[in-house]
């Protein structure tokens, strides 16, 4: 009788423990998803701003067609990379790498535009340009901050999966390690420097 009670108690404890781990992992995975969508919103916003920038700049920079085209191409590549992630339901190792390289190409081509804009006093004085610069650098900051919190969440999620005893059941519950959104290229870490 006593043995039965003890076995029963152990089973109950195991269930409670399993439910605890299950819920914790689900919560963490949702937080990872949510923080990814924060990045996603800002990426989308930046892709929306870039055509405005090109329109504004085009009138002044008649001889810089190549630079402008580079930005437009880089943007459409980044848009595709983002859409690929959206279709697959979340970032995977390959898709996040694609997005990262598209993003760093976009960043450097945007940097070129702002560097060139220095040569056009009229453009620099334009209120529209100042507003676009501010919006773009604010979006840039938001992406950086959202990336920070995404990486933090990924770290919490991955650590929770790797810890003992969760490591015994996490893959059985359908959890995999999430991908960090890391900027590996040292140059890409410097966000577009915009002077005011």
């Amino acid at each position: 009788m006593t043995a039965l009670i003890i076995i029963f108690a152990i089973i109950v404890l195991l269930i409670i423990w399993g439910v605890g781990i299950y819920n914790r992992l689900v919560t963490l995975r949702n937080q990872v998803k949510n923080s990814w969508s924060q990045i996603d919103v800002q990426l989308q916003r930046r892709y929306d701003l870039i055509p405005n920038l090109v329109e504004t700049v085009k009138g002044y920079m008649k001889y810089e067609k190549g630079t402008l085209e580079a930005v437009i191409n880089a943007r459409s590549q980044a848009v595709q990379a983002r859409e690929a992630i959206e279709k697959s339901g979340g970032p995977t190792e390959g898709s996040i790498k694609n997005l990262l390289s598209a993003e760093s190409a976009l960043k450097s081509s945007l940097g070129n535009i702002f560097a060139l804009a220095e040569n056009y006093p009229q453009l620099r004085a334009s209120e529209n340009m100042a507003r676009l610069q501010e919006e773009l650098s604010s979006t840039e900051n938001k992406i950086a901050f959202a990336r920070q919190s995404y990486n933090d969440q990924v770290l919490f999620y991955n650590t929770a999966q790797q810890k003992f005893p969760a490591v015994l059941v996490s893959s059985a519950f359908g959890h995999h390690l999430a991908e960090l959104y890391e900027v590996t290229d040292a140059n890409a870490k410097n966000t577009v420097k915009v002077s005011f």
Binding site: Q38, A146, S149
Partner: protein
């Protein structure tokens, strides 16, 4: 030794807990003291087996504190901005500086995973800012026009992130609870004073009973004593929360230079005066110089804050 912002946050939290324990101890010690003194001095008259006076002291302080807290809690952060005649920055503002301010607030909301609070501009030359409101949902951020004019984008970002730190750490709630406790202590003092006035008039009738005048005197001293030390403790807690908010600011922006440079600019500032109507809320400010001694100061000295931030700067670089 260089300190990272996680360590500084843990340290500030430890100190806060310690001071809050002191606060409870302070009330308990005062209650025990009035009880013991009354028994020693007037043991013949006061023979109840229960610690009536001590219990009365605690019950009265905590009731007043709770009532006060309940009244103040319902007020959102907006009333502070209103009293300082702040103007809410329009979300669709066309002004480039105001737009930048709103953008920075949105950025830090992303960094701190908090809702975007309304932003108010306060007419003042001094560089200052504050956060008010007890919950993240009804919090607001106020910024002086001086801060908007004199700070660079990075510096303003550091200041805004500091205010988000207060919201995220629940500092307004802690501050209000302590203020309510002090109100409770003050009420004991006030109550005892009134009883003393009354018992002087009717002293003839009470000659044979428990010496009411003496009890009131005890409570008066206990009220004044707890009020005095309560204020010192509250200021100490407030200073720790400032360090904590500085560390949170670095956590959100990962850019200690912005905040440190903003503090340096404030240190060099000649005119630090804020609107007179805001004096009651000076403890909420980004920097406050109204404390008349370091014991009662609501904010740590600027040099110490800068040093702590530069410490986290080094550890970020290492």
């Amino acid at each position: 030794m260089a300190m990272n912002f996680w360590e500084s946050q843990a340290r500030a939290r430890r100190y806060t807990t310690l001071y809050l324990i002191f606060f409870v101890l302070l009330a308990t010690i005062a209650a025990v003291l009035v009880e013991v003194i009354l028994r020693v001095v007037a043991g013949d008259h006061y023979t109840s087996p229960y610690p009536l006076l001590g219990a009365f002291f605690l019950a009265l302080t905590f009731t007043v504190a709770l009532v006060k807290y309940a009244i103040l809690r319902s007020l959102g952060g907006k009333h502070v901005a209103d009293e300082m005649e702040g103007r809410r920055v329009d979300v669709n503002t066309q002004d480039t500086q105001e737009k930048q301010l709103l953008n920075i607030v949105e950025e830090i909301a992303v960094a701190s995973s908090l809702p975007i609070p309304p932003v108010y501009l306060i007419q003042a030359e001094a560089i200052n800012a504050f956060a008010a409101g007890l919950k993240p949902e009804n919090a607001i951020i106020g910024v002086t026009t001086g801060a908007l004019k004199k700070l660079s984008r990075e510096e303003l970002q550091g200041v805004i992130a500091h205010e988000f730190g207060h919201i995220s750490n629940g500092d307004m709630r802690i501050g209000l609870r302590l203020a309510a406790m002090i109100m409770g202590f003050y009420f004991i003092f006030y109550f005892a004073l009134r009883v003393m006035q009354f018992s002087q008039i009717s002293r003839e009738r009470d000659r044979k009973g428990v010496p009411i005048f003496f009890i009131a005197l005890l409570l008066l001293i206990a009220g004044a004593f707890t009020c005095f030390f309560g204020k010192i403790l509250k200021a100490a807690v407030n200073r720790q929360r400032e360090y904590l908010a500085d560390a949170s600011s670095v956590q959100f922006t990962r850019n200690p230079e912005g905040l440190a440079n903003a503090l340096k600019k404030i240190a060099k500032e000649a005119d630090s005066s804020m609107p007179k109507s805001g004096t009651a809320y000076s403890h909420l400010y980004f920097n406050d110089r109204t404390g008349w001694s370091s014991l009662f100061a609501t904010h740590p000295p600027l040099e110490k804050r800068i040093k702590a931030i530069i410490g986290s700067l080094r550890s970020l670089r290492d």
